[in-house]
Protein backbone atom coordinates (compact mmCIF):
# COMPACT_ATOMS: atom_id res chain seq x y z
CA UNK A 1 0.00 0.00 0.00
CA UNK A 2 1.41 3.35 -1.04
CA UNK A 3 0.77 6.57 0.78
CA UNK A 4 -1.75 8.68 -1.14
CA UNK A 5 0.78 11.51 -1.45
CA UNK A 6 3.13 9.20 -3.33
CA UNK A 7 0.53 7.56 -5.53
CA UNK A 8 1.16 10.11 -8.28
CA UNK A 9 4.71 8.79 -8.69
CA UNK A 10 3.66 5.16 -9.16
CA UNK A 11 4.62 3.50 -12.39
CA UNK A 12 2.04 1.34 -14.12
CA UNK A 13 2.73 -1.10 -16.91
CA UNK A 14 0.56 -0.17 -19.85
CA UNK A 15 1.97 -2.75 -22.27
CA UNK A 16 3.84 -5.45 -20.35
CA UNK A 17 6.89 -6.82 -22.11
CA UNK A 18 10.09 -8.61 -21.19
CA UNK A 19 13.23 -9.06 -23.25
CA UNK A 20 16.20 -11.19 -22.20
CA UNK A 21 14.89 -11.28 -18.65
CA UNK A 22 14.58 -7.50 -18.41
CA UNK A 23 11.27 -5.77 -17.85
CA UNK A 24 10.89 -3.44 -20.83
CA UNK A 25 7.19 -2.73 -20.41
CA UNK A 26 5.71 0.39 -21.92
CA UNK A 27 4.74 2.31 -18.78
CA UNK A 28 2.98 5.55 -17.98
CA UNK A 29 6.48 7.07 -17.67
CA UNK A 30 7.29 6.02 -21.24
CA UNK A 31 3.93 7.38 -22.37
CA UNK A 32 4.57 10.78 -20.84
CA UNK A 33 8.04 10.92 -22.32
CA UNK A 34 6.43 10.42 -25.73
CA UNK A 35 3.84 13.07 -24.88
CA UNK A 36 6.68 15.42 -23.94
CA UNK A 37 8.41 14.70 -27.23
CA UNK A 38 5.17 15.32 -29.11
CA UNK A 39 4.75 18.60 -27.24
CA UNK A 40 8.27 19.71 -28.12
CA UNK A 41 7.78 18.66 -31.73
CA UNK A 42 4.48 20.53 -32.01
CA UNK A 43 5.89 23.64 -30.35
CA UNK A 44 8.92 23.75 -32.64
CA UNK A 45 7.43 22.72 -35.98
CA UNK A 46 4.15 24.60 -35.68
CA UNK A 47 6.05 27.64 -34.48
CA UNK A 48 8.52 27.57 -37.36
CA UNK A 49 6.53 26.10 -40.26
CA UNK A 50 5.75 29.51 -41.71
CA UNK A 51 8.83 31.35 -40.58
CA UNK A 52 8.85 35.00 -41.54
CA UNK A 53 11.56 37.62 -41.30
CA UNK A 54 9.50 39.50 -38.73
CA UNK A 55 8.48 36.69 -36.40
CA UNK A 56 5.03 36.30 -34.98
CA UNK A 57 4.44 35.55 -31.33
CA UNK A 58 4.88 31.79 -31.56
CA UNK A 59 7.92 31.99 -33.81
CA UNK A 60 9.62 34.50 -31.54
CA UNK A 61 8.96 32.23 -28.57
CA UNK A 62 10.83 29.44 -30.36
CA UNK A 63 13.59 31.81 -31.43
CA UNK A 64 13.92 33.26 -27.94
CA UNK A 65 14.47 29.83 -26.41
CA UNK A 66 17.04 29.03 -29.08
CA UNK A 67 18.91 32.30 -28.61
CA UNK A 68 18.80 31.78 -24.88
CA UNK A 69 20.51 28.41 -25.25
CA UNK A 70 23.04 29.79 -27.75
CA UNK A 71 23.81 32.63 -25.36
CA UNK A 72 24.26 30.20 -22.49
CA UNK A 73 26.63 28.01 -24.52
CA UNK A 74 28.64 31.00 -25.79
CA UNK A 75 28.98 32.39 -22.29
CA UNK A 76 30.04 29.13 -20.65
CA UNK A 77 31.95 27.27 -23.36
CA UNK A 78 32.89 29.92 -25.90
CA UNK A 79 33.02 29.74 -29.69
CA UNK A 80 34.10 26.11 -29.72
CA UNK A 81 30.89 25.23 -27.91
CA UNK A 82 28.65 26.03 -30.88
CA UNK A 83 28.83 22.40 -31.99
CA UNK A 84 27.10 21.38 -28.76
CA UNK A 85 24.17 23.79 -29.09
CA UNK A 86 21.81 21.15 -30.56
CA UNK A 87 22.57 18.77 -27.69
CA UNK A 88 22.08 21.40 -24.97
CA UNK A 89 18.97 22.73 -26.70
CA UNK A 90 17.41 19.26 -26.91
CA UNK A 91 18.24 18.60 -23.27
CA UNK A 92 16.88 21.95 -22.10
CA UNK A 93 13.64 21.87 -24.03
CA UNK A 94 12.88 18.23 -23.17
CA UNK A 95 13.36 18.79 -19.44
CA UNK A 96 11.46 22.07 -19.60
CA UNK A 97 8.48 20.46 -21.31
CA UNK A 98 8.58 17.39 -19.06
CA UNK A 99 8.61 19.61 -15.95
CA UNK A 100 5.75 21.80 -17.12
CA UNK A 101 3.68 18.90 -18.48
CA UNK A 102 4.09 17.17 -15.14
CA UNK A 103 2.29 20.07 -13.46
CA UNK A 104 -0.90 19.54 -15.46
CA UNK A 105 -3.71 17.65 -13.71
CA UNK A 106 -3.62 13.86 -14.27
CA UNK A 107 -0.18 14.13 -15.85
CA UNK A 108 2.82 12.12 -14.75
CA UNK A 109 5.98 14.04 -13.91
CA UNK A 110 8.72 12.12 -15.71
CA UNK A 111 11.52 14.18 -14.14
CA UNK A 112 10.37 13.31 -10.61
CA UNK A 113 11.98 9.90 -11.05
CA UNK A 114 15.62 9.63 -10.11
CA UNK A 115 16.26 6.97 -12.74
CA UNK A 116 15.15 9.30 -15.51
CA UNK A 117 17.28 12.20 -14.32
CA UNK A 118 20.17 9.89 -13.49
CA UNK A 119 20.09 8.44 -17.00
CA UNK A 120 20.51 11.96 -18.39
CA UNK A 121 23.21 12.84 -15.89
CA UNK A 122 25.15 9.60 -16.36
CA UNK A 123 25.10 10.07 -20.13
CA UNK A 124 26.38 13.64 -19.76
CA UNK A 125 29.07 12.47 -17.33
CA UNK A 126 30.33 9.77 -19.70
CA UNK A 127 30.12 12.19 -22.62
CA UNK A 128 32.26 14.71 -20.74
CA UNK A 129 34.87 12.06 -19.96
CA UNK A 130 34.84 10.86 -23.57
CA UNK A 131 35.22 14.36 -25.00
CA UNK A 132 37.90 15.20 -22.46
CA UNK A 133 40.06 12.21 -23.36
CA UNK A 134 39.40 12.63 -27.08
CA UNK A 135 40.47 16.28 -27.03
CA UNK A 136 43.29 16.23 -24.51
CA UNK A 137 44.37 12.63 -24.12
CA UNK A 138 46.04 12.01 -20.80
CA UNK A 139 46.29 15.76 -20.21
CA UNK A 140 42.64 15.51 -19.22
CA UNK A 141 43.85 14.41 -15.77
CA UNK A 142 45.18 17.95 -15.30
CA UNK A 143 41.57 18.81 -14.52
CA UNK A 144 42.20 17.42 -11.05
CA UNK A 145 45.27 19.60 -10.48
CA UNK A 146 44.40 23.28 -10.08
CA UNK A 147 47.22 25.64 -11.08
CA UNK A 148 49.53 27.02 -8.40
CA UNK A 149 48.79 24.27 -5.92
CA UNK A 150 51.54 23.88 -3.31
CA UNK A 151 53.15 20.45 -3.65
CA UNK A 152 52.40 19.70 0.01
CA UNK A 153 48.68 20.07 -0.55
CA UNK A 154 48.66 18.25 -3.87
CA UNK A 155 47.47 14.78 -2.68
CA UNK A 156 44.70 16.39 -0.63
CA UNK A 157 43.53 18.68 -3.42
CA UNK A 158 43.56 15.91 -6.02
CA UNK A 159 41.41 13.74 -3.76
CA UNK A 160 38.96 16.58 -3.16
CA UNK A 161 38.79 17.36 -6.87
CA UNK A 162 38.26 13.69 -7.62
CA UNK A 163 35.33 13.42 -5.18
CA UNK A 164 33.87 16.61 -6.60
CA UNK A 165 34.19 15.22 -10.12
CA UNK A 166 32.75 11.81 -9.26
CA UNK A 167 29.71 13.34 -7.56
CA UNK A 168 28.76 15.30 -10.70
CA UNK A 169 26.24 12.80 -12.09
CA UNK A 170 24.60 12.55 -8.67
CA UNK A 171 24.39 16.29 -8.04
CA UNK A 172 22.99 16.84 -11.50
CA UNK A 173 20.30 14.17 -11.17
CA UNK A 174 19.41 14.61 -7.49
CA UNK A 175 18.81 18.34 -7.89
CA UNK A 176 16.22 17.99 -10.62
CA UNK A 177 14.59 14.91 -9.09
CA UNK A 178 14.41 16.38 -5.57
CA UNK A 179 12.95 19.67 -6.72
CA UNK A 180 10.24 18.05 -8.81
CA UNK A 181 9.33 15.38 -6.26
CA UNK A 182 9.24 17.80 -3.32
CA UNK A 183 7.06 20.24 -5.23
CA UNK A 184 4.59 17.59 -6.31
CA UNK A 185 4.31 16.12 -2.80
CA UNK A 186 3.72 19.59 -1.34
CA UNK A 187 0.93 20.28 -3.83
CA UNK A 188 -0.67 16.92 -3.04
CA UNK A 189 -0.43 17.43 0.74
CA UNK A 190 -2.13 20.81 0.61
CA UNK A 191 -4.75 19.44 -1.77
CA UNK A 192 -5.41 16.75 0.86
CA UNK A 193 -5.98 19.46 3.48
CA UNK A 194 -8.57 21.11 1.25
CA UNK A 195 -10.51 17.87 0.92
CA UNK A 196 -10.40 16.91 4.59
CA UNK A 197 -11.36 20.40 5.76
CA UNK A 198 -14.21 20.45 3.26
CA UNK A 199 -15.46 17.07 4.54
CA UNK A 200 -15.31 18.31 8.15
CA UNK A 201 -18.06 20.77 7.21
CA UNK A 202 -19.24 23.99 8.89
CA UNK A 203 -16.57 26.44 9.95
CA UNK A 204 -13.84 24.00 8.96
CA UNK A 205 -15.03 24.05 5.37
CA UNK A 206 -14.51 27.81 5.31
CA UNK A 207 -10.98 27.30 6.62
CA UNK A 208 -10.37 25.15 3.55
CA UNK A 209 -9.82 28.37 1.62
CA UNK A 210 -6.41 28.70 3.31
CA UNK A 211 -4.80 25.56 1.86
CA UNK A 212 -6.47 26.38 -1.46
CA UNK A 213 -4.79 29.79 -1.51
CA UNK A 214 -1.53 28.11 -0.50
CA UNK A 215 -1.85 25.66 -3.37
CA UNK A 216 -2.39 28.46 -5.89
CA UNK A 217 0.75 30.18 -4.64
CA UNK A 218 2.68 26.89 -4.59
CA UNK A 219 1.60 26.17 -8.14
CA UNK A 220 3.08 29.47 -9.28
CA UNK A 221 6.28 28.63 -7.42
CA UNK A 222 6.36 25.20 -9.04
CA UNK A 223 6.07 26.77 -12.49
CA UNK A 224 9.11 28.88 -11.63
CA UNK A 225 10.94 25.83 -10.28
CA UNK A 226 10.13 23.87 -13.45
CA UNK A 227 11.80 26.52 -15.61
CA UNK A 228 14.68 27.25 -13.24
CA UNK A 229 15.58 23.59 -12.84
CA UNK A 230 15.57 23.00 -16.60
CA UNK A 231 17.84 26.04 -16.90
CA UNK A 232 20.18 24.88 -14.13
CA UNK A 233 20.41 21.40 -15.65
CA UNK A 234 21.36 22.82 -19.05
CA UNK A 235 23.71 25.38 -17.48
CA UNK A 236 25.60 22.77 -15.48
CA UNK A 237 25.85 20.58 -18.56
CA UNK A 238 27.53 23.55 -20.26
CA UNK A 239 29.87 24.05 -17.30
CA UNK A 240 30.86 20.37 -17.27
CA UNK A 241 31.32 20.31 -21.05
CA UNK A 242 33.48 23.40 -20.75
CA UNK A 243 35.76 21.56 -18.35
CA UNK A 244 36.16 18.78 -20.91
CA UNK A 245 36.56 21.00 -23.96
CA UNK A 246 38.70 23.86 -22.69
CA UNK A 247 40.43 22.32 -19.67
CA UNK A 248 40.20 25.58 -17.70
CA UNK A 249 43.20 24.97 -15.45
Amino acid sequence: MVRPQLEQFEIHRLVPATTLGYDVSFTNASLFMLVTLAGVWAFLTLGMHRATIVPGRWQSAVEMIHEFVVGMVDENIGRSGRAYVPFIFALFIFILFANILGLLPFAFAVTSHIWVTFAFAAFIFLLCIGIGFAKHGLHFFELFVPPQTPVVLLPLIVLIELISFLSRPLTLSVRLFANMTAGHILLQVFAGFIVSLGLAGGAFALLGILPLAMNVALYALELLVAVVQAYVFALLTCVYLNDSINLPH
Binding site: T52, I163, S164, L166, S167, T171, R175, L224, Q229, V232
Partner: protein, 113 residues
Amino acid sequence: MSRPRPTDELGSLEARLAAAKARNAPVDPVRLAGGAMGQGFRFAVEIVVTTVVGTAIGWQLDRWLGTKPWLLIVFMLLGVAAGFMSLFRAVAAEQRLVDTQPMPPSVPEDPEE
Protein backbone atom coordinates in the same frame (compact mmCIF):
# COMPACT_ATOMS: atom_id res chain seq x y z
CA MET B 1 10.85 29.89 -53.67
CA SER B 2 13.13 29.79 -50.70
CA ARG B 3 12.44 31.62 -47.51
CA PRO B 4 13.73 35.18 -47.26
CA ARG B 5 17.04 35.33 -45.45
CA PRO B 6 18.04 38.26 -43.29
CA THR B 7 20.39 40.57 -45.15
CA ASP B 8 23.70 41.81 -43.85
CA GLU B 9 22.26 45.22 -43.22
CA LEU B 10 19.65 43.73 -40.94
CA GLY B 11 22.32 41.70 -39.18
CA SER B 12 24.34 44.79 -38.32
CA LEU B 13 21.18 46.55 -37.19
CA GLU B 14 20.41 43.62 -34.95
CA ALA B 15 23.92 43.73 -33.52
CA ARG B 16 23.64 47.43 -32.82
CA LEU B 17 20.21 46.94 -31.25
CA ALA B 18 21.53 44.16 -29.03
CA ALA B 19 24.49 46.29 -27.98
CA ALA B 20 22.22 49.22 -27.17
CA LYS B 21 19.91 46.99 -25.18
CA ALA B 22 22.78 45.46 -23.27
CA ARG B 23 24.07 48.93 -22.35
CA ASN B 24 21.00 49.84 -20.35
CA ALA B 25 19.22 46.59 -19.66
CA PRO B 26 16.96 46.79 -16.64
CA VAL B 27 17.40 43.82 -14.32
CA ASP B 28 14.24 41.75 -14.27
CA PRO B 29 13.63 40.98 -10.58
CA VAL B 30 11.81 37.69 -11.26
CA ARG B 31 14.67 36.50 -13.43
CA LEU B 32 17.20 37.59 -10.82
CA ALA B 33 15.31 35.79 -8.05
CA GLY B 34 14.94 32.68 -10.21
CA GLY B 35 18.63 32.66 -10.99
CA ALA B 36 19.54 33.16 -7.35
CA MET B 37 17.22 30.34 -6.28
CA GLY B 38 18.72 28.04 -8.89
CA GLN B 39 22.23 28.88 -7.73
CA GLY B 40 21.29 28.37 -4.10
CA PHE B 41 19.82 24.94 -4.78
CA ARG B 42 22.83 24.09 -6.88
CA PHE B 43 25.30 24.49 -4.04
CA ALA B 44 23.00 23.15 -1.33
CA VAL B 45 22.63 19.91 -3.27
CA GLU B 46 26.30 19.88 -4.21
CA ILE B 47 27.48 20.00 -0.59
CA VAL B 48 25.10 17.21 0.43
CA VAL B 49 25.97 14.98 -2.51
CA THR B 50 29.76 15.40 -2.33
CA THR B 51 29.56 14.52 1.37
CA VAL B 52 27.55 11.40 0.59
CA VAL B 53 29.85 10.39 -2.28
CA GLY B 54 32.95 10.96 -0.15
CA THR B 55 31.47 8.89 2.66
CA ALA B 56 30.53 6.11 0.25
CA ILE B 57 34.05 6.01 -1.20
CA GLY B 58 35.55 5.89 2.30
CA TRP B 59 33.15 3.16 3.40
CA GLN B 60 33.98 1.00 0.39
CA LEU B 61 37.74 1.54 0.78
CA ASP B 62 37.43 0.59 4.45
CA ARG B 63 35.79 -2.67 3.45
CA TRP B 64 38.51 -3.44 0.92
CA LEU B 65 41.47 -2.44 3.06
CA GLY B 66 40.08 -3.37 6.47
CA THR B 67 40.86 0.03 7.95
CA LYS B 68 37.47 0.59 9.56
CA PRO B 69 36.51 3.36 10.37
CA TRP B 70 39.39 5.68 9.48
CA LEU B 71 39.05 6.09 5.73
CA LEU B 72 35.32 6.67 6.10
CA ILE B 73 36.00 9.60 8.43
CA VAL B 74 38.77 11.01 6.23
CA PHE B 75 36.77 10.73 3.00
CA MET B 76 33.64 12.16 4.58
CA LEU B 77 35.62 15.25 5.55
CA LEU B 78 37.14 15.39 2.06
CA GLY B 79 33.61 15.20 0.64
CA VAL B 80 32.50 18.14 2.78
CA ALA B 81 35.60 20.03 1.67
CA ALA B 82 34.82 19.28 -1.98
CA GLY B 83 31.29 20.66 -1.62
CA PHE B 84 32.44 23.83 0.07
CA MET B 85 35.31 24.28 -2.35
CA SER B 86 32.95 24.49 -5.32
CA LEU B 87 30.83 26.99 -3.40
CA PHE B 88 33.93 29.01 -2.55
CA ARG B 89 35.07 28.97 -6.19
CA ALA B 90 31.69 30.21 -7.39
CA VAL B 91 31.68 33.02 -4.84
CA ALA B 92 35.22 34.00 -5.81
CA ALA B 93 34.23 34.05 -9.51
CA GLU B 94 31.22 36.21 -8.69
CA GLN B 95 33.43 38.57 -6.71
CA ARG B 96 35.84 38.90 -9.64
CA LEU B 97 32.89 39.75 -11.86
CA VAL B 98 31.67 42.41 -9.44
CA ASP B 99 35.16 43.86 -9.07
CA THR B 100 35.73 44.20 -12.81
CA GLN B 101 32.33 45.74 -13.52
CA PRO B 102 32.33 49.55 -13.70
CA MET B 103 30.40 51.25 -10.94
CA PRO B 104 27.04 52.65 -12.02
CA PRO B 105 26.99 56.46 -12.26
CA SER B 106 26.15 57.87 -8.87
CA VAL B 107 23.12 60.08 -8.42
CA PRO B 108 23.99 63.53 -7.05
CA GLU B 109 22.38 64.18 -3.71
CA ASP B 110 19.34 66.38 -3.62
CA PRO B 111 20.37 69.69 -2.01
CA GLU B 112 16.76 70.36 -0.95
CA GLU B 113 16.78 67.42 1.43
